[in-house]
């Protein structure tokens, strides 16, 4: 459904994308993860047609991005991170406007708006101005506006940021429904639990490149990582941090005052780790054994927290 080959994009001296390639199959729920500045937004901007790549090719639902931009636009829906609605208009008028841009016949559009508002639990507020809505309600309408023309592919850029649990759950239900109905979804998020819950496959980006992609199980098996030991210190001077890295080697990564030690055999390595820290005079505050999850995979691959 989406074929991206060797995308390159620079902004002045900054190379935002350095040859990004990936494929997304029809009906797949694909997660795109990465720290700030990894190139996720640039990639989504290119796929959603508002930015031209410097090099590379993209095909969306059989349409070439360079030669058939309109075909691409009609195949996609985009849910932006910021809520993009006209606050002075009602939910109904907003949806009517956004849906009309895709030449959906008016009668059919009105039916779809009614269904969508019901799906998102906002049918009784359809005539109220958006400015009277809560943040969660606005996000629901924001998502609804991208679905009215029945796109084949939905790009969602952190759609659940800063909303109440009720709205979040409602959005999750809608996402699951859309996924079941076969919609292809490209999803960026900082919330690992969302990526783990929904994504069939995940691409991890850093510094303008896809550094790993695959199913959750495949990513967890990357480099044989299974578990990690997180040791948090009361204080961790730079000198001590340097010595710890020197002694413990590449399996060790330090963020803040926490040392993460990745190991395939936690039983054997736990006591050795504590011993080494003691020998170097480190003041341990807490020790935690962490099962491998997407967060730890991400950290091990990029050296950064996803929420940095």
């Amino acid at each position: 459904m989406i074929h991206v080959h060797n995308l390159v994009k620079s902004y002045g001296d900054v190379q935002a994308l350095k040859g990004v390639s990936f494929d997304i199959q029809e009906g797949e729920f694909f997660g795109l993860l990465g720290p700030n500045g990894a190139g996720k937004t640039t990639t989504i901007s290119i796929l959603s047609t508002i930015v031209k790549p410097d090099a590379g090719s993209v095909r969306i639902a059989g349409h070439d991005l360079t030669t058939d931009q309109e075909g691409c636009k009609r195949s996609i829906g985009v849910v932006t991170q910021e809520i993009a609605l006209y606050n002075k208009l009602s939910a109904w008028d907003n949806l009517l406007f956004w849906g009309s841009l895709y030449n959906v016949p008016t009668a059919e559009l009105k039916e779809r708006i009614t269904e969508t508002l019901t799906l998102f639990g906002l049918a009784d507020r359809k005539n109220d101005a958006i400015e009277t809505y809560s943040g969660g309600m606005k996000r629901r309408i924001n998502i609804a506006s991208a679905l009215l023309h029945r796109p084949k592919i939905l790009f969602m850029d952190e759609p659940t940021v800063g909303i109440d649990p009720q709205s979040r759950n409602l959005i999750f239900e809608v996402l699951e429904k859309l996924h079941k109905e076969g919609m292809t979804i490209v999803y960026t998020t900082h919330y690992m639990e969302e990526a783990e819950r929904f994504c069939d496959r995940i691409g991890i980006m850093d510094k303008g490149q896809i550094i790993a992609q695959g199913t959750l199980a495949e990513l967890k098996n990357t480099g044989g990582i299974r578990e990690s030991i997180a040791v948090t210190f009361n204080t961790l001077p730079e000198v001590l941090a340097g010595k710890l890295i020197e002694v413990l080697g590449e399996a060790c990564k330090i963020t803040g005052q926490t040392l993460h030690y990745y190991t395939a055999n936690i039983q054997a390595d736990l006591s050795k780790l504590i011993l080494r820290c003691g020998e170097l005079g480190a003041d341990i505050a807490q020790i935690e054994i962490q099962k491998v999850n997407l967060e730890t995979v991400f950290l091990s691959l990029t050296g950064k927290q996803l929420r940095d």
Binding site: S48, T49, I50, V51, E70, K73, R74, I76, V78, T80, E82, I83, A84, L85, Y86, N87, W98, L101, Y102, N103, S145
Partner: protein, 406 residues
């Protein structure tokens, strides 16, 4: 309180472009008004006043007067027939014509009142004041003295029919020597002034006030188009529009269409109000009014959309709007009559929407030209041309800057 002020000053200085606009904007306006008014009253101000001259007498005396008037540095003469002059004044192409009627030479020699008539566009009363002062003094100098001398001699001869011819010649010489110094106070009565008013119902001042103000306020309104696009950018809806199949050009033209509609309604309301409150007789040419409303709205919207295509902040919109609209309005005649400005500024007026719009409304409601008149059509054509050029430039700028804008 001081902390708030300091914080606001820091924010103000952080936006360099807006700061420059705030302090730079008044300078061109001061320059404009200084150039326009600064030269007035100076003794070396030799701004030539245009004047059409019609010699119906075609005698040596009339030709001599024409040559004398042509030699004046204060006048710029254009010689033509009386019918042509009437037409030019009627269409607003000339301000006034001095007609030397048939019998000028005979009247001069026989001491009768000279058949001199100044026909002028009643809408140009201020210009006429200046022209009259130039003409009266010089006419008195060229022909008035001679005319009075002849009058005195003719009266003496009439009162003394039986006087010896030699004695009469002596008296004539005495009379002539009395007038030989020339001068005498200007006698405005020797010049008959005839205003040419095609539409006495409508005061030219009212047409000027309504049209001039309407266009200026319209320009301020449509400049809000830039602010509207910036608002869309800030709210994220501009980016969302770009995701759709709509396209950058359609987005811009959609904005322009709404601006056009609002502009036309605004103009209609202003002219309707002028009719109801001040009696401006708009009913005499409704089709013409509609044509002018559409053309003016198109040109003004073009300005608004051009501004919207490259501004990046609301402060820029405000600064540029003030600078451009006030400059165009001043040069174009919305705020002061253009004749007071230097010639090069009067030529710059041709690039302003205000000039063509005001002249178009003058054509309708003062000169009472039909809508098929080439002069009126030329004003309408220029307004559409200005709008078209601005729209084309706006589309190009918008496409080039769209990513920065979005």
């Amino acid at each position: 309180m001081i902390k708030i002020a300091i914080k606001d000053l820091k924010l103000f200085m952080a936006e360099k472009r807006s700061m420059i606009l705030t302090f730079i904007v008044p300078i061109p306006l001061i320059t404009l008004f200084s150039l326009a008014f600064g030269g007035m009253g100076k003794s070396n101000d030799v701004r030539k006043l245009p004047l059409v001259l019609c010699d119906e007498d075609h005698t040596s005396a009339s030709r001599h007067l024409v040559a004398q008037l042509d030699s004046l540095s204060a006048l710029k003469l254009y010689i033509t027939s009386t019918d042509t002059a009437n037409s030019l004044i009627g269409k607003g192409k000339e301000d006034a014509a001095l007609v030397l009627h048939k019998g000028f030479k005979d009247s001069l020699e026989q001491g009768r009142n000279l058949p001199l008539e100044l026909r002028y566009d009643q809408a140009k009363e201020i210009q006429m004041g200046m022209l009259m002062s130039v003409l009266s003094g010089n006419l008195m100098r060229f022909v008035g003295t001679h005319s009075l001398e002849r009058k005195a001699i003719v009266r003496f001869d009439r009162q003394n029919p039986g006087m010896d011819s030699a004695m009469k010649a002596g008296v004539h010489q005495m009379i002539s020597s009395n007038f030989s110094g020339g001068g005498g106070s200007p006698n405005e009565a020797m010049l008959k002034a005839t205003p040419l008013a095609a539409q006495p119902e409508n005061s030219p001042g009212l047409v000027q006030a309504v049209a001039g103000t309407a266009v200026m306020m319209l320009l301020f309104s449509v400049a809000g188009l830039g602010a509207s696009l910036l608002q869309e950018k800030e709210e994220g809806t501009l980016r969302k529009l770009l995701f759709s199949p709509l396209g950058a050009t359609n987005i811009l033209f959609g904005k322009m269409l709404s601006a056009n509609i609002i502009a036309m309604v605004q103009l209609a309301i202003m002219f309707t109000f002028s009719w109801l409150a001040f009696g401006l007789n708009i009913k005499q040419n409704i089709p013409g009014l509609l044509i002018m409303i559409v053309a003016t709205a198109f040109a003004c919207s073009g300005f608004g959309i051009f501004l919207a295509s490259f501004v990046k902040t609301r402060a820029q919109v405000q600064g540029l709007t003030t600078l451009i609209v006030l400059t165009m309005s001043a040069i174009g005649g919305s705020m002061m009559p253009s004749f007071v400005m230097p010639l090069w500024m009067q030529k710059m007026a041709l690039f302003s929407v205000n000039y063509w719009s005001i002249q178009g409304f003058y054509d309708l409601y003062w000169r009472v030209l039909p809508i098929t008149d080439p002069v009126f059509l030329s004003r309408v054509g220029m307004l559409f041309a200005i709008g078209l050029v601005l729209n084309i430039a706006a589309v190009r700028m918008f496409k080039k800057n769209i990513l920065n804008i979005a």
